[in-house]
Amino acid sequence: MLIKLTGGMVYDPASGIDGQRQDIYIQDGRIVNKPVGEVQVDHEYDLKGKVVMAGAIDMHTHIGGGKVNIARTLLPEDHRLDPVARTDITRSGCGHAAPSSFVTGYRYAEMGYTTGFEPAVLPANARQAHMEMADIPIMDKGGYIMLGSDDYLLRMMTAKKDQKAINDYVAWTIQAAKGIGIKVVNAGGISAFKFNQRKLDLDEQNSHYGVTPRAILKTLATAVKELGIAHPLHVHGCNLGVPGNMNTTLDTIQGIGGLPMHLTHIQFHSYGAEGDFKFSSGAAQIAEAINKNKNITVDVGQIMFGQTVTASGDNMIQYINHKHASPNKWVTMDIECDAGCGVVPFKYKDQNFVNALQWAIGLETFLLVDDPWRISLTTDHPNGAPFTSYPHLIRLLMDRSFRNDRLSTIHPEAQKMTNLASINREYTLNEIAIMTRAGAAKLIGLKDRGGLSAGNWGDITVYTDNADRQKMFEKPDYVFKDGELVVKDGKVIHTKWGTTHVVKPDFDASVEKDLKKYFDRFLTMKLDNFKISDDEITEDGRGSLTVHPLKGGVA
């Protein structure tokens, strides 16, 4: 089957193409070069006047795993406002803040997104994350495996085990839990909370292990690099949401000593403590540090006004945040001497000074970071806002007068505390394509996604150019997934199942000897029952695994 997409305006930053009229051919799911000679085109789409990009990739979105399901269970009243009926080809479910798995897949696809990564896969709960994601149709998915508050790593660090031993453990864990990256959440802090520590600064020791967040970050960032895992260590920093935490963030950037590091939902970590309310924007300083330190990448975690729910591995911070729960109900959990979670519903209000300034801080960050290859567009779904707000966010970034109109409506004191109005930058379509496609694929190390050159899978989104960028991005004309047309005029017309992206870094098999003993002594499962087998992903005939290459010639 040969498909031809004819005459569209192509934005493919992966190939350096910034708005060029170009035909695209798809054969057997993948993009191919123009066939030579006389070849029968089976299906041609006339894309004159249309904008063509690769399928979008959300590199940080909470779409599967225990905390997401707790969030769903906690909020029946939110689901009731957004029921989704079944059709002949789609399943029923619910939407808004914590949508059902099927609706997650449909709504992402209907916005032109074809891939999403769950950033907080606890090894102890990885099975659940994969089972939930297996029920997300159309999209590809993957997960970052959470380490850094797990007893095994911390006791290794206390015992001053060498980096090689730690690398083996990290590689073993990412394989056992089937991930594509390593994530740290409040390094050592989730563990510290279980010992009744209520905060943990970058250089503060965990009271039991005597290990600091700084040391954990360095150790894990080194492991990720030495193992050749393409995605840099994915870091949810210390002191999330705490006024003045920008200094922690700046310190974290310095402390990593040039190692690759991804700072996630940076907006929540860019706060000063100036002004009448002791809460101010640190976006300018943070952006400056990002601009200077090329080893650093970020995603923003933009907040949007309205009801949502926050779901995080950071039980320490979420416990503190429960005071802001709206509606007033919340869950935290300590999990398996491995990790934790906290789920707190939030209602961000534009007339609340702090919320209004958070909104501005996120936008300042987007606009002040120079290099779109090092910043990803996220709301930390659903923590800052549901992913369905992306088209609105894109308009805020691309349309200065729209942005300033919105700015003029927020809490007046917050308006005074942001320099947003003085920032003239408007994102271009090419920059949006970098942030949501090529840059995200590069950052995660996806070998054949996020681009439109021959060899890439046929994940393609086609929009009608529209000066109202929100309208443009919320309703693509066509979305192709692996070369199959799945969305037409913003509606799912066909469903399929995506793959699960993983990496398989090598480890010394002898690592299991100690781990087996450790599991028998302390944990609640046998080692062999803990490891997720390939079968578990593929046995129902829908799922598949795609293994991505390691970096820098690491075997």
């Binding site: 269970t73 029921p83 079944r86 029920d135 279980k194 009744n196 959990m333 398996e336 302390f522 609640t524």
Partner: protein, 419 residues
């Protein structure tokens, strides 16, 4: 004969995965680490090997076609039981979505006590490895824990080593409400649990007083529900002094109206403790016969727990009105599908409505259902996944024998396809 080790159990809820099972043909024998719950559940013999329609043996295809035909003619089918593995629940929900059924897990009226508290105010909970390594005080409220899970203490309290306690034998166990039926809660060094008994109906008051004492509120009576307030004060003091106390209850044992308020009081008490500079966590006991599995899979598929209807084309949750028994008794349902792959003794409610049973081999019925399709048991006849009581860890169930019985997922998917 084969011997299979490290076998995980879907029956006891606490996720034991150290059983050794001998397999001879289709007979199983638990040779190591069995218990009164797991051993009979694994060893139960296969008696029904093929489906029946109107009591007559038929092929699977015929039974599936008959089931689909029965369902097609209905306005409000109800799918009860919902006791199966993750793939079974996936297929069950697909069938419910297709047929506009009500889905109701058979233990939901018990689980509702937890869900109502969770959905009203939330909780701070923990998981079994945290209990095993961290818990220094276990408060057991209103349940005979060792009858619920015979190996709980051996596995999670009297473990020889723990990460953070020098001597697990020094942990304290306090029973409030119901007394233990045996000595499993006595530590290896002979320290017995403290027991403060009261009637189950007195629990709301006793628990409310305990929470008040944790908060430091004055109590003017000397005893409540037969428990001395001084004793409750001592429990409150111990909870406040503990480094990591765990409060456990079983929703199924709180057999009185509005028991969700007791769950809520306990959960709010745990929150109160955490705001007084110590750590404490709740631990609801559940996880039997796929109840957590049903709620988890229904949770991600619909947004709601497993008492949800699809009759309007989209899922609607109602913890009271979608009760299968209520719908059957009220004449609102016009067909019953009963799915129970774990327990042959858990038969469907008696009804005159067309009934399809997808059940564990060995079920005996007062009224023969219109269609009976015996299915394999997850973790015995086929691989699968089930959730443990702590609702975080999903265990990977093994296939132990070749019985030829189809899985719940295969049968329900076939019915959906034929629909």
């Amino acid at each position: 004969m084969a011997e299979i080790t490290e076998v995980p159990s879907p029956f006891c809820g606490i996720g034991t995965d150290d059983l050794t099972i001998q397999v001879e043909g289709v007979s199983l024998k638990v040779t190591k680490n069995g218990c009164t719950v797991n051993t009979p559940a694994f060893e139960q013999a296969i008696t029904d090997t093929g489906p029946r329609v109107d009591g007559k043996k038929v092929s699977l295809d015929v039974a599936v076609a008959k089931a689909a035909a029965l369902l097609k003619d209905t306005n409000q089918p109800v799918i009860g039981g919902c006791a199966t593995d993750v793939n079974g629940m996936r297929a069950l929900l697909a069938l419910a979505d297709r047929s506009g059924a009500v889905v109701d897990n058979m233990n939901f009226t018990n689980a509702r006590r937890n869900f109502l508290a969770l959905q009203d105010s939330g909780w701070i909970n923990t998981t079994l490895a945290e209990v095993k390594n961290r818990c220094d005080l276990l408060l057991v409220v209103g349940v005979d824990l060792e009858a619920f899970a015979p190996r709980f203490f051996e596995h999670y309290l009297w473990n020889e080593e723990s990460m953070f306690l020098d001597d697990t034998g020094k942990r304290e166990v306090i029973y409030l409400g119901k007394a233990p039926s045996g000595n499993a809660s006595t530590s290896p060094t002979g320290q017995k649990a403290q027991v403060f008994e009261c009637g189950v109906a007195d629990l709301p008051e006793v628990v409310a007083v305990l929470r008040a004492l944790v908060k430091g509120n004055p109590i003017r009576v000397e005893s409540t529900g037969g428990v001395a307030v001084a004793d409750l004060q001592a429990i409150a003091d111990k909870l406040k002094a503990a480094k990591y106390s765990v409060v456990t209850w079983a929703a199924g044992a709180l057999t009185y109206n509005q028991a969700e308020l007791t769950v809520q009081t306990l959960s709010e008490m745990v929150k109160d403790l955490n705001s007084q500079n110590t750590r404490s966590s709740g631990l609801p006991l559940a996880g039997k016969e796929g109840d957590q599995t049903a709620n988890q899979v229904c949770g991600w598929t619909t947004g709601y727990p497993a008492r949800t209807r699809f009759s309007r084309g989209y899922p609607e949750y109602d913890p009271y009105l979608n009760d299968a028994n209520f719908l059957l008794d009220n004449g609102e349902a016009d067909a019953l599908v009963w799915v129970q792959a774990f327990n042959a003794g858990a038969v469907p409610p008696v009804t005159d409505l067309p009934t399809i049973v997808v059940g564990r081999s060995g079920m005996t019925f007062e009224h023969e259902p219109d269609v009976f399709i015996p299915v394999g048991t997850p973790g015995i006849d086929h691989a699968g996944h089930a959730y443990r009581m702590d609702n975080v860890v999903a265990i990977r169930l093994k296939k132990l024998r070749d019985s030829g019985l189809p899985s719940t997922a295969q049968v329900l998917s076939a019915i959906e396809q034929a629909f």
